[in-house]
Symmetry: C2
């Protein structure tokens, strides 16, 4: 189902700037027992994105009410919020006082095999690069062709995610996930000041270092450093943490830190207990 | 009005990938007497974009019929065609056999002052860069936030267009137009293998060099070369050619080549006679 500006609807105007230009943002929430997880974190990222794009800050109470109506007691699923600059006058120029379009839609929980949490995933390297753009990096905007083209590179169901490097050859992220790697015994995640999306799980792990006790640096990951990766995992709001068992041609060893971090996330309530490495 | 997959409609699905990810392409035609100008050139660019994005090639006869229905004898106006990957399963992965969404919409002719053709425009430099991405450069895809953010930089009605450089500082194009500059007596236009859109007018001028007799090179334009620009113009399918009378802080002299090229375009039927420099 979908709610458009609060009303049950399957209809977006062909003049909506979300469609015309990808002029907007989105958030993807895991839903458990009718509740979108990590709500405050998602809303903070959305607000930050609105600031970047010059979109009006949405009213938090309206969003909360509409999210609850869209979830409607859904025991387990996904909620997507899309926020666009709405309908404006023709051309790229944004109206000075735009009236945003809010779209909430719910979706079935994806039927990923439990082994992806328990044993880990097969992670490939994609050829499609991520462009570098400091003004668009980090936020979850609607311009996602780079991810679509990367995800179109493979259809082997035994490959679960693809890594993208930026146009200078630095490894940035998965097509739908953030990457964490352990090199020389130290965890890090690529910094996202030029490309990529600052994921909710990624930020939870970075913010929680004092609590979970595993130091994680934000730093550049050159492609040339990949052979030295000892362990890795990817994160997003739906999957939580997936350990990586194969990175390109490299077999990686299981690492207990993945389980420890997954338990931390579950305790924080940003993923559901079912999504921790068993 | 708008036609969605051939039917009069104001309704796009909230699940359309054009909205979810900007997963699609568009074309903007000038319309005169019910006819979209430069139809074949637009369709060739669209087909090229479909190849890049892995979209099915649209049926030319269907598009022609729907364009005629949308224009419906419109004496003077704009026709936009948006082609998206349609509705697919959730996530970035494109369906192997997508069913595209076709949207034709018509719009009023913009009321630009005639002096923009006769005297020329005031062209500013934008701070928002264009990212570099060889796989997306050149095609007219729906991921246009870089243009939206650039166009949001000014609201002075005496500034008519803004130039964008790529993230390496090379001048690429206007927010909605291609750029041509004369340096040391020779015309050139920035090459678009990393950023920008290969405009229909731009390509007509490049293809027509033997006919119009004015050589035009495709070459990199470093920002440092801008002070040596003697004359300039910008192009798109709606405006045809606008001479540049002011480039940033530089006053430029009128150049007869602009008028000559505008007459060539009118003779080719890619712009209407009203849009030549008088």
């Amino acid at each position: 189902m979908s709610l458009v500006n609060g009303a049950d609807s399957q209809c977006i105007s062909p003049e909506d700037r979300g469609l015309l230009y990808g002029d907007g943002l989105f958030e993807t929430f895991a839903v458990r027992d009718g509740t979108p997880l990590a709500w405050d974190r998602h809303l903070r990222r959305l607000a930050h994105g609105c600031g970047r794009l010059g979109l009006p800050q949405p009213d938090a109470e309206t969003l909360r009410r509409e999210a609850a109506a869209a979830c409607n007691g859904l025991p387990r699923g996904i909620l997507r919020l899309t926020l666009t600059r709405g309908i404006g006058s023709r051309g790229y120029r944004p109206d000075p006082e735009p009236v945003a379009t809010r779209i909430f839609s719910t979706h079935a929980w994806p039927d990923y095999p439990p082994d992806l949490w328990r044993v880990g995933i097969n992670l490939r390297f994609c050829d499609t690069p991520l462009s570098r753009h400091p003004g668009l990096a980090g936020i979850k905007h609607l311009n996602r062709l780079e991810q679509v083209l990367a995800r179109a590179e493979w259809d082997d169901p035994e490959v679960h995610e693809g890594l993208q490097s930026d146009t200078r050859g630095r490894v940035v992220s998965g097509t739908m996930s953030n990457l964490f790697v352990k090199i020389a015994g130290r965890w890090s995640t690529p910094n996202l000041d030029q490309s990529g999306v600052t994921g909710i799980i990624r930020q939870s792990l970075l913010d929680g270092q004092a609590a979970h006790g595993i130091p994680i640096a934000e730093q550049t990951l050159e492609r040339s450093a990949v052979p030295r990766v000892q362990a890795a995992f990817v994160t997003n709001s739906v999957i939580g943490i997936w350990p990586v068992r194969r990175l390109g041609a490299q077999e990686l060893d299981p690492d207990d830190d993945c389980r420890r971090l997954a338990r931390y996330l579950a305790a924080q309530g940003v993923v559901a207990p079912g999504e921790i490495a068993a």
